[in-house]
């Protein structure tokens, strides 16, 4: 059997690596190259401007607005999603307590699991359209329809104070289910004897959660954090579909990815868009690195 090993490995690797190199690595190299040019995206690449595109960002208010919004998502999206997902996963798996020698979730946890996961199955574009209706600014909007008739309708997405919050709510709503499943799988790997021993010692659910579940799940939480952080650098589809004048009102929901798209394909500033992409690339890398090193701690062996 050994003599077939290399053809087997190469057969599996060559195609994916080739695709990766062509469509990701090579494209990145091109983007880095383009970011130092003033290029419309419609003709030959000619005007070398060095760091000109990056300098332009400093004076671009939309750029700073976008960064601010990405940072807002970066702070709140992982925290809220991870906390909610952990609590739900805990309730689904161990929340029911220890009965008859088995640790179980709360009553009906199998049904909840499906319900939690459901948003993950919907295309983001559909989610955005649906929530556009939910946040409708007049009485035909679902939330406003629930309020008493005498109330002034809330503008939600049309009010710059709340618009970004609405986006965050949808992102969390969509993401939680996936992490519930991820954390559930992690919890499934925690030996039940650990819980049982703790339960016999009289540990409460809160103690179980903080003293056993979280430490044993730390690696999974860490990965979730990085994923969610990267998702916070995106948010393109939601912002593009849901918000006033795409990124409005008045730039109140603009994010970097939307800015890149609009500069490249609407304002014919592909060079500038590439430079923004390069910035996004480094921001994402920095974030992942900082998160992974800041959250490093001794892994607890179960």
């Amino acid at each position: 059997m050994r003599h077939g090993k290399y053809p087997f490995i190469i057969g599996f690797l060559v195609v994916p690596v080739a695709i990766y190199v062509t469509f990701v690595v090579w494209a990145y190299i091109q983007a880095f190259y383009l970011s130092v040019y003033e290029w419309s995206g419609l003709g030959p690449v000619e005007n070398f401007v060095g760091l000109g595109n990056f300098r332009k960002m400093f004076d671009d208010t939309t750029f700073w607005q976008s960064i601010k919004h990405n940072v807002f998502l970066l702070i709140f999206l992982p925290i809220i999603t991870v906390v909610l997902a952990l609590v739900f996963a805990f309730l689904l798996n161990v929340g029911g307590g220890h009965k008859g020698g088995v640790t179980r979730g709360v009553w009906g946890s199998k049904v909840y699991r499906v319900i939690f996961f459901f948003p993950q199955l919907l295309a983001l574009a559909i989610v955005a359209v649906i929530f556009g209706r939910v946040f409708g600014p007049d009485k035909s909007g679902m939330l406003n329809g629930l309020f008493p008739e005498s109330w002034q309708p809330w503008l939600f997405l049309a009010d710059e104070r709340y618009a970004m919050g609405c986006i965050l709510v949808v992102l969390v709503w969509q993401a939680v289910g996936f992490y519930v499943v991820l954390f559930s799988a992690g919890m499934g790997n925690i030996p039940t004897e650990v819980y049982e021993a703790a339960a016999i010692d009289g540990a409460s659910r809160v103690t179980l959660f903080f003293r056993i579940t979280i430490p044993l799940l730390w690696n999974t939480v860490q990965v979730a954090w990085v994923y969610l952080g990267i998702a916070a650098f995106d948010a393109f589809a939601l912002v593009n579909i849901m918000t006033v004048d795409r990124g409005g009102p008045d730039g109140a929901t603009s994010v970097l990815s939307l800015m890149i798209y609009r500069n490249a394909f609407e304002f014919s500033q592909a060079g500038y868009a590439s430079a923004l992409g390069v910035v996004l690339f480094f921001l994402t890398l920095t974030f992942a690195w900082v998160t992974l090193s800041a959250t490093r701690r001794e892994s607890v062996e179960a």
Partner: protein
């Protein structure tokens, strides 16, 4: 302006695909979608040519195929497949027309332009239209001087240019050279339901005092007097505001804006117009409209919940399916703002819109131009108007034909305006970024701060930023 024919629901469908390309992948996506950096300057390919003759003024190769791409939006595509192509093939039976349609012009066409393999004739329109100024600058659009100088296909003794409404060639010209055919002719103004107005004895206003007085009456009747959709149609408001500015101080005000002249936006005419409109926003708009889309506010107008909607004459066709019987579209020119407006109250903004162009680096640019000549024939124009309830730039092509109430009303408005029909502004297609800023600023002015001075200063700043940005191709008009 061409955003008008967008079908927002179709954008959404393809969004997921795009969503996947952004995020972490945004960086490579720009270069991937723009495709093949560097290959675009590899000279042009062999282009089909034929011998020029009286019958073949553009000198096309009668056997060479022509590839056309049509934007599928509010106008549909039937005019191309059922009218223009058969007409073209009647004259050139051996030339095979390859047709395709798309809802996203830039996504489909931009990579092909970059790869040096564009279609021969392109309808650049919709919310994903390509920045046409940049296309011209990049040398991707064919010079249409010979097309406009060629004899008309079916109007004897006239060149193509002779058959068009005034301003049509100018509208597609960049620094004085024609590169685009702006085919459909749009009349802008305040749209209302003539039946509702008749029932209530309301007459469209001609002065601003009449306008606000009527708005008070409409408000008392429990109807929102004025509205536009802030979520995706704020450029209607920009047009309303600048049309008023044009009426106060003549079209020169708008030319200065297009030419990025310093002080163009802080001009008294623009200030007065912004102030007048801000007053309408403050007192007569429904604040929830900021979060609504064009179709949603339109629906409310069809239900007689909104009296005036600022828009162009495509509106009637766009709403055709949803207009209840008994609803009669009619247009009123924007009322005079001051007693000393330089243009009369009847003056109206009407302009050619919807860009069609021949690709300079295609296989058969002359064929693309010949296709445009076919579209500009009287026969094709008449059928286009019948199919789309939209006028074309071919002058008088639909005279004597019974058309819809809205279009009749638009026609009347143009007649009444006489010599005071003005083309308006071009900065929205020249400088997309400035256009973008004007939309956000108009929303702020009408829904939130009602501060005319702030509006003017903000736009002035944005305009001067464009003027100083060397990466933006500048155009001028006179």
């Amino acid at each position: 302006m061409t955003d008008i024919f967008t079908k927002p629901e179709l954008d959404r469908r393809t969004l997921l695909r795009r969503a996947a390309a952004v995020g972490l992948l945004a960086t490579p996506a720009v270069s991937m979608l723009s495709a093949c950096v560097g290959s675009s300057d590899e000279g042009t390919q062999d282009q089909a040519t034929g011998t020029k003759s009286a019958d073949n003024p553009l000198g096309i190769d009668p056997k060479a195929g022509v590839e056309i791409v049509i934007f599928n939006g509010g106008l549909g595509t039937k005019y191309a497949t059922d009218v223009d192509t058969p007409l073209f093939n009647k004259k050139w039976p051996e030339a095979k027309v390859t047709y395709s349609q798309t809802e996203e012009i830039s996504t489909q066409i931009q990579p092909r332009i970059n790869a040096g393999n564009p279609p021969d004739m392109i309808n650049n329109s919709g919310s994903k239209l390509m920045d046409f100024g940049a296309i011209v600058k990049a040398g991707q659009a064919a010079d249409l001087t010979d097309l406009f100088a060629a004899p008309s296909l079916d109007i004897a003794g006239k060149t193509v240019a002779d058959t068009l409404v005034p301003g049509a060639v100018e509208q597609g010209s960049y620094d004085g050279k024609p590169f685009a055919v702006n085919y459909s002719y749009t009349v802008f103004g305040l749209w209302y339901n003539a039946a509702l107005f008749k029932k209530n004895n309301w007459t469209p206003p001609t002065t601003w005092a009449e306008f606000t007085a009527l708005c008070d009456k409409i408000k008392a009747a429990g109807i929102t007097p004025f509205g536009f959709a802030g979520a995706n149609a704020s450029y209607y408001m920009v047009r309303a505001l600048l049309t008023s500015a044009g009426k106060i101080g003549t079209e020169q005000v708008l030319k200065d804006i297009d030419n990025l002249k310093e002080g163009a936006w802080t001009n008294d005419a623009v200030k007065q117009a912004a102030e007048a409109w801000a007053g309408i926003g403050k007192n007569y708009i429904n604040k929830t409209f900021l979060g609504l889309r064009h179709t949603e506010v339109q629906l409310q107008q069809n239900q007689d919940k909104v009296a005036f909607y600022p828009c162009g004459s495509w509106l009637e066709n766009e709403q055709a399916k949803d207009t209840p019987s008994g609803f009669e579209y009619a247009i009123a020119p924007y009322p005079s703002v001051t007693a000393s407006d330089k243009l009369p109250a009847t003056a109206i903004n009407a302009a050619a819109g919807e860009i069609y162009f021949a690709a300079a680096k295609g296989k058969n640019p002359q064929g693309g131009k010949e296709y445009l000549r076919t579209m500009l024939s009287k026969e094709a124009a008449l059928e286009f108007t019948k199919l789309t309830k939209s006028l074309t730039v071919v002058a008088g092509a639909s005279d004597g034909v019974t058309i819809s109430p809205g279009l009749t009303s638009a026609n009347d408005a143009v007649t009444k305006a006489g010599k005071d029909v003005f083309m308006g502004y071009l900065f929205d297609t020249w400088y997309k970024k400035l256009d973008d800023e004007s939309r956000a600023a108009a929303n702020d002015l009408m829904f939130k701060d009602y501060d005319a001075a702030k509006f003017c200063e903000r736009m002035e700043k944005a305009s001067q930023a464009v003027a100083k940005d060397s990466s933006v191709t500048k155009f001028t008009r006179s």
